[in-house]
Subunit: 213 residues, 2 copies
């Protein structure tokens, strides 16, 4: 009985924390660094005391927002790579799709997340670590593709990585108002695969999704 | 004499405005949307009265900051295209170099310029107009290159444009701490020209700058 109560309390705490972070995301997207704890508490529901129980200060909450957005972005892109592990062309489309969807999902947050004052709140090595994590994802895709013989062996992996991720991000920024994430993912994958492999991809069918093999 | 005085007054006003904008850029990079008119006046020198003579409100000044950064960024990239108008490979390197240098120059400002509250201060059509202007620059490069026979005729120009500009921006963001703008411009140009033309570029010599032709 005592144990069941403990588990239920812990489950409540996890749910509360998630609800607070969700509210904090929306307040942060609206007000950026001017986010106020009272507004977050009002939107999340559980009261200012509970909020401070989870996040000891405004700075703590801001750090948790950044961390959760970055972690979720990386997780969605890594999951895409795993889902296409059997075929580099499928992995390419899955990664493009994940990158464009997550960018669409977090657009208002990405617009304020690079504020220098926010970067200063983080651990000094944080920004560099995140940059490396974002570079590793397209590099993993390229390594898979080179091993499978889909991409040339002598590809400059740093340049290829910044080009692939840059194309995803910039397409979302410049064309994301007119075209859906799925449409852009399909068009970019067609274009980039052709560029990187020197030929149109037979695995991508007319509707832009990998045909079952 | 009267005319000379008028001209000199106008010259002073232009110089004052430029000095205020320069100070405003630095205050804005530090404080984002929390920029205070008094701090700008203190940094610029000419006093709060003169500041309000040039910018009737804080919002006016914020709008002018955005406009000046965007206009200068576009101008530097357009000038690069013009400087390489006789050779698409030279134009490519000049554009890469301008994009990476301007990004380096304005890095702290670009980190806060996408704040939604700032976007709301601008004319409703402003963001879309700027997006189109940023797409036009690589499109002009591609048109030049296709006409000169350097790039294939059937290139998807939208996808090629977001890929080129995205590669420049993302290289600056992810690798700009470790490599200089010139180094990145050279490496990206080598990589992308090879990708887009299907061959290493003979015009780019070992030091990364176009050899005289």
């Amino acid at each position: 009985m005592e144990d069941a109560k403990k588990v239920s309390k812990r489950t409540d705490a996890v749910a509360n924390r998630a609800r607070i972070l969700e509210a904090a995301h929306s307040v942060f997207a609206e007000h950026g660094l001017d986010l106020e704890m009272q507004e977050v508490a009002a939107q999340a529901g559980p009261g200012l005391g509970t909020l401070y129980g989870h996040f000891a200060s405004r700075e703590d909450l801001l750090r948790a927002i950044v961390q959760s957005v970055i972690d979720d972005t990386l997780a969605q892109m890594r999951a895409a790579l795993v889902s296409g592990a059997d075929d580099p062309r499928k992995a390419f489309l899955a990664l493009a799709s994940a990158a464009l969807h997550v960018q669409h999902q977090y657009r208002p947050l990405f617009a304020v997340i690079r504020d220098r004052r926010l970067v200063k709140l983080m651990d000094p090595s944080y920004a560099q670590r995140v940059r490396m994590q974002f570079l590793e994802i397209p590099k993993d895709l390229l390594t898979q593709g080179i091993q499978a013989g889909a991409f040339p062996q002598d590809l400059d992996q740093d340049m290829a990585s910044v080009t692939i991720m840059g194309a995803f991000i910039n397409a979302g920024n410049l064309l994301g108002k007119e075209r859906s994430p799925d449409e852009l993912a399909q068009q970019l994958t067609q274009f980039l695969l052709r560029l990187f492999t020197g030929q149109a991809s037979p695995e991508i069918s007319g509707d832009g999704f990998p045909s079952p093999t």
